[in-house]
Symmetry: none
Subunit: 216 residues, 4 copies
Amino acid sequence: MNDQHSIKAPGAAQTLPETGNPEAVNKRQSQIVKKASRLFIKKGYAQTTMRDISKATGINLGNLYNYISSKEDILCLAFETYHDPAVAWLERKGVLDIEDPKEQLQTALHQILIMTHDVMNDILMMYRETRVLPPKFLKIVLKKESDLVDFFEKIITRGMEKKVFRVRDPFFAANMLVFQLSLYPLRSWNLKRYTRDEFLALAEETILKAIIPDYA
Amino acid sequence: MNDQHSIKAPGAAQTLPETGNPEAVNKRQSQIVKKASRLFIKKGYAQTTMRDISKATGINLGNLYNYISSKEDILCLAFETYHDPAVAWLERKGVLDIEDPKEQLQTALHQILIMTHDVMNDILMMYRETRVLPPKFLKIVLKKESDLVDFFEKIITRGMEKKVFRVRDPFFAANMLVFQLSLYPLRSWNLKRYTRDEFLALAEETILKAIIPDYA
Amino acid sequence: MNDQHSIKAPGAAQTLPETGNPEAVNKRQSQIVKKASRLFIKKGYAQTTMRDISKATGINLGNLYNYISSKEDILCLAFETYHDPAVAWLERKGVLDIEDPKEQLQTALHQILIMTHDVMNDILMMYRETRVLPPKFLKIVLKKESDLVDFFEKIITRGMEKKVFRVRDPFFAANMLVFQLSLYPLRSWNLKRYTRDEFLALAEETILKAIIPDYA
Amino acid sequence: MNDQHSIKAPGAAQTLPETGNPEAVNKRQSQIVKKASRLFIKKGYAQTTMRDISKATGINLGNLYNYISSKEDILCLAFETYHDPAVAWLERKGVLDIEDPKEQLQTALHQILIMTHDVMNDILMMYRETRVLPPKFLKIVLKKESDLVDFFEKIITRGMEKKVFRVRDPFFAANMLVFQLSLYPLRSWNLKRYTRDEFLALAEETILKAIIPDYA
DNA sequence: CATGAATGAGCTTTCATTCAT
DNA sequence: AATGAATGAAAGCTCATTCAT
């Protein structure tokens, strides 16, 4: 009991981090999150016990709680870590500055396909464990997803105006596109026959075909 | 859970008194599976307790074990129930007999999109709870999925030969197509603005565009 | 977790009592509360574990939670059980109908001294474990105490008006009186030399002396 | 807690490097005890963690154990500190030299009421946390209490012999008197309406009334 | 077949205490 | 002396499963 008869606010470790060097604490924290994520991916969140995480990280069970405040906290941190970049990262890459809509869409898609491909297991986990997140956190995650959809919707709309793209409903097209990004994470078991580059090329082509007339 | 996937024979209750009419038993069993599935969908498998299931079905907690052998068993049965139809059902509908590849693909897609749309919650659950399935069972489920992919691959290949379709890799295209079927279940939270029919039309169009040149 | 991301409301068992005969459940519950109270008295609330209570009651640890909802719940129930009677019980005894203030006060005091004496250990515990009660519950307990003070204040005030009692401040006198009721529970270790009846007589006399002039 | 009151020597730290000046150690120790007592008072002994004490004292958690040997040790030291004065202090004030029993009792009572009033929170804690003390220590504490009772018993007996006091049983009267000293600590929640001086006057009068005939 | 109390392993979390530096 | 990370033994509580009736 932290304080008697109170309610907890998840999101940060409780005890140590105030003193000592916070870098080391953060490092340890992200170490925990990374290893725990692997377990969540492999066994599922509910099936992963704190003892598993202790064993996997080599950090003593009690000591774990010096870096994270609860099991749920680990999941939230995992979501934060892997979900942050997306839109911001695309903007930083200068995608918004590309004048030609075709090139712009192609670049954005390519970049994010690579990214998605590389963190596929994490994405798979997120699809599954979303249910466990506290509502506030869930909202944030969905917001990020919906931001990504908006991002692509804008690109598509601009391409429509320039008569380069042709879709019936840009918002729908953007949703489908973002969804298609997860093809590999969610279907990797059936797509092992392709190399990474083969897959990326095929995916890119298939996705763009639905938007750009006479593509390929 | 003692150890994951220990020696058990899922799919059939263990201590059923062999007497009594097995029809009634089966009826009871599917009643349990149906109600339990709703709970798994709503709260997640791990978060659903046997007590919940007892309350939802109105069957006494102890008595439940006369019809199912374990909680996991219920999940397996749920997968069986909802996963069975797909290919067989399409074949029964006579899709294989349609001569024109374009019409054939369109019909198959349409039928299965409707189906998928209507059991979206169940599909969502399956995406999530796959991890809990015992390996043998998981294999069966993936086999069925892969059969569906093969089904569409054949259609696409035939269309290619007839020069009606154009894709770089029929197997990949089939995978993407089958994956796209799940757009609504997995993204419904962002697609509420469309009516059922609007959605179906948009999805059909978008999917076919990647396969049929000059579609729409 | 009862319901995801919710807050609990202590005060009643969670699972079973809805079905089955509630008499048996209540009986079991009060059995638990009684045994647990003995432990709380002997070792203190914080030092008593649920495993202790399980052992003392002979009820399996998990099974305990079919009758109570938490350890705190047991303490609250203990307070309810032993704190209820006081004022209501005095009223039922017809104390309010006694015309002569002297006799009225004497009777009330006598009755309640007996009662207090007999549940002394419980009272001792309550003095100690009040801190652990949830705020709402604490308020109720203090209200009951303050009601008892009010009860005696009224009697004293009436005696003052009739010139039978003489105190400088009736409210203060009532507070002191109610406090003195706990002499035995809190000091029994130093008062063992007296028999029950000796103690009662001495306490009665000492308390009344401060209120009734020329008493004894 | 492994087993209650195991083999330990409370009152002195265990692993102190015997070197270094012991004055500084003692100072540090009493600083710890004082701060910890405040916490015990506020939150209860069981609910106060060593981390709390570390934070409150500003002494590093591990370092604390250079000055005290256990959490229990702190409680014992607290009892020693706050319980010491009573009788010795009254004697030092020359109360025993007062010839007139009435004046003697009045003076002793007045002095000790003031004292009690001012350390009420500590007394309240002692009433609560007594149960945690190791038996040997508990005996010492009770001995001190009983000494205080004896002190007042002697005064009362002398007054009886001089026909100035009138009680049926001096030992009982002394017990009640000492008990009444704790009225404020234990009932302050219902006595806030009085100023300190009002309370002291009322308490004094009420207590003496039971001993001195025709008082006030 | 039905009941619901009983079982006990296992979960997350806390915390007094120790120890390498 | 001082640090703060590490330790591990409980603690409260849950829940799939069994069993006497």
